[in-house]
């Protein structure tokens, strides 16, 4: 095996280890981790923040710059998904389908970016 291949496999093993260890971080110990109340209170806000932090830049940036043109399929897909969500609460599947349909229609139908 060449050095590069060995290095790459070691990197894959490291990625597996990081994935398993981060996902099971607070589950590894058999005893309940004792965390202060303020930490638990603050962490209540973390999961949804993490998800939206991955979403927002993907919607408003292209190649690291704010969108210059409002005719962007992504904006309309997000708007359609949000409107559907407000109209039919708690329908996650429908929201994704409406957003995806809008995206595909504008991109493949009208040739938008």
């Amino acid at each position: 095996m060449s050095w590069h291949t060995t290095h790459a496999w070691l990197a894959v093993l490291a990625l597996v280890a990081v994935t398993v260890l981060t996902r099971s971080f607070f589950l590894l110990s058999n005893s309940e981790p004792r965390l202060p109340a303020w930490l638990l209170q603050g962490l209540r806000h973390a999961p949804v923040a993490a998800l939206l932090a991955m979403v927002v830049p993907e919607v408003f940036l292209s190649n690291g710059h704010l969108l210059a043109d409002w005719r962007d399929a992504r904006l309309f897909a997000v708007a359609a998904a949000l409107l559907y969500w407000l109209a039919r609460r708690n329908d996650v599947t429908g929201t994704i389908l409406v957003g995806t349909a809008t995206l595909m229609l504008l991109r493949l139908g009208l040739g938008w970016l």
């Binding site: 806000h45 973390a46 923040a49 599947t93 957003g99």
Partner: protein, 248 residues
């Protein structure tokens, strides 16, 4: 897997409540699985075109099971970056799962360590979001009820299968999938739809808004550190907002 868990699996599958919950989980993840399929295809195509050998690419695809860190770390691996840089990047991108793991502890902290690790490994973003929406309150003692267990596995195994089928398809059909489809954004739409039910009260909406703004403003940071900045912001803004609207 040891024998007791195989026996437990058989008993669970014989229970109609477990089977109904499993079917419900499979059904509820369907929309989000569309996002998982899209992201899996994107990751597969990226891996096929990364210049790494097929054996390695299959190794990453089948073992790592983490879309964001796979996409971010492949170029680093291909470029022969130092191992610690690759591991640190993956740690930052997986930070949200550390937070999720604390919430999961309330649901299945009472199970054996093997089960806890296995469950958390399967629990990607859509599984977490869908599960806590269906079961906002954990069962006492950190032991999942039969129905919760069936629902969790219905969600998690469907999501797992969707990811792997799509990722393998992406690797082998890389040249047949046009970039114009913009598949990646379907994954983004799925994450958005999964986040919406979590915006349950005014304080969380406030901290989420702050987090989104910070993630956008710090988007140029390397290694996905903008997500870390956003989580930190939500933490501080959340503590303030909870006090302001006196939650708990």
């Amino acid at each position: 897997m040891n024998l007791p868990s195989v026996a437990a699996w058989r008993t669970a599958r014989a229970d109609p409540a477990w089977r109904a919950a499993f079917a419900a989980g499979r059904r509820d993840i369907a929309g989000a699985a569309l996002g998982t399929v899209a992201m899996g295809l994107v990751a597969g195509v990226a891996m096929a075109k990364s210049g790494l050998g097929l054996g390695l690419v299959l190794g990453v695809s089948l073992l790592v099971f983490a879309s964001a860190s796979q996409l971010a770390c492949l170029p680093l691996i291909a470029a022969g970056a130092p191992l610690w840089v690759i591991a640190a990047t993956a740690c930052v991108l997986n930070l949200r799962f550390v937070v999720f793991s604390m919430h999961w502890r309330r649901y299945f902290g009472g199970h054996s360590r093997l089960h806890r690790v296995l469950f958390s490994y399967l629990a990607g973003d859509p599984v977490y979001a869908q599960f806590v929406q269906r079961y906002p309150v954990p069962a006492p003692g950190g032991r999942t009820t039969r129905a919760q267990q069936g629902y969790f596995l219905g969600l998690a195994l469907t999501n797992w299968a969707a990811w792997h089928v799509a990722s393998l398809a992406g690797i082998f059909l890389a040249d047949a999938i046009p970039a114009a489809w913009g598949l990646r954004f379907i994954g983004v739409l799925a994450l958005l739809a999964l986040a919406l039910p979590m915006l349950t009260d005014r304080a969380v909406r406030c901290s989420a808004l702050a987090a989104g703004a910070v993630a956008l403003a710090t988007a140029s940071l390397p290694m996905g550190l903008n997500v870390v900045a956003a989580i930190g912001t939500a933490f501080v803004a959340g503590l303030w907002a909870d006090k302001r609207w006196s939650v708990r």
